[in-house]
Symmetry: C2
Subunit: 158 residues, 2 copies
Amino acid sequence: MTSKAAKFEAIPDEALTLGQQLCFAVYSAGHAFNRTYKPLLDRFGLTYPQYLVLLALWQQDRMTVKRIGEEMGLDSGTLSPLLKRLEAAGYVSRLRDPGDERQVIVSLTEKGRRLKAEAFGILAEIGKASGCTLEEIRDLREALHRLTQRLGSSQQES
Amino acid sequence: MTSKAAKFEAIPDEALTLGQQLCFAVYSAGHAFNRTYKPLLDRFGLTYPQYLVLLALWQQDRMTVKRIGEEMGLDSGTLSPLLKRLEAAGYVSRLRDPGDERQVIVSLTEKGRRLKAEAFGILAEIGKASGCTLEEIRDLREALHRLTQRLGSSQQES
DNA sequence: TAAAATTAAATTGCGCGCAAATTAATTTTG
DNA sequence: CAAAATTAATTTGCGCGCAATTTAATTTTA
């Protein structure tokens, strides 16, 4: 019994299958959402991540890139080009903060604000596709938030 | 009361926030898993999706690209280059099926099989980082599987 | 206040993930 | 059996997502 092998000997072989992995269940559900949103967003010329940024802006307009990144867990390397495309599509404007020229303030355009009305329809479609009750959605969402929190905080420790 | 607005009038404004979205909870948890796996996989020169493919192969060796795609919900456009990189890293071999030259059979190399022993350690690390009990993991996994199933089947209908 | 350190965005490079087009092999059918 | 249709994998193009670097502005501090 070598020391290295012994340490995890208690874990059965079946624990290592794809179907048993929580991470793979999350991974697959993420793709499934992306695929479900795609046809609903195509007619607005939006991608799923772009739509999530708009959700953040409908909640709180005029955020810096950094602030949006904090809300969404994304860095400027991801957001900068995405926001440029959202601007090119006419949904947001990007303006340097006159008080601090390092910052860029992202604001909804009139077109961006108008889209919010359509989003309720998208929300209803997704809710229907998910086949979940409001309670199931809430419980699952909260369980995932707790999980994300714990995975995130475990990062800092290492 | 315009007809278009009236249709979804019952949905409150708060339902449209990022934090309320199940999709965003899944999206964030997916990124959190990716970030947690990254340092654990870096020393093997593997990415998180590559590791998932290896999980599939430890469960069932010698699969065609198509079969792996069915197991994982990915198409060959994603898998072909990923498998080439796994081959370049020495974890798998890719061989045309002599009985049907259209198919490519992906097999674990000795190096790929050896890595399985290390995977139990990774599994334990992730389990610790998730902070979930085995019951929580099972429940969450099953809820996500059901969700993925329903989102997937809703695609065919449209 | 001038130099050093910090901060915010943007940029670069690479690996997914997916749609669409391409290539090559096999199966169907006329 | 030959043409047409189907199938499997690859390739191409584009948009994330992230690490690492760069650029520019602001703050700290010597």
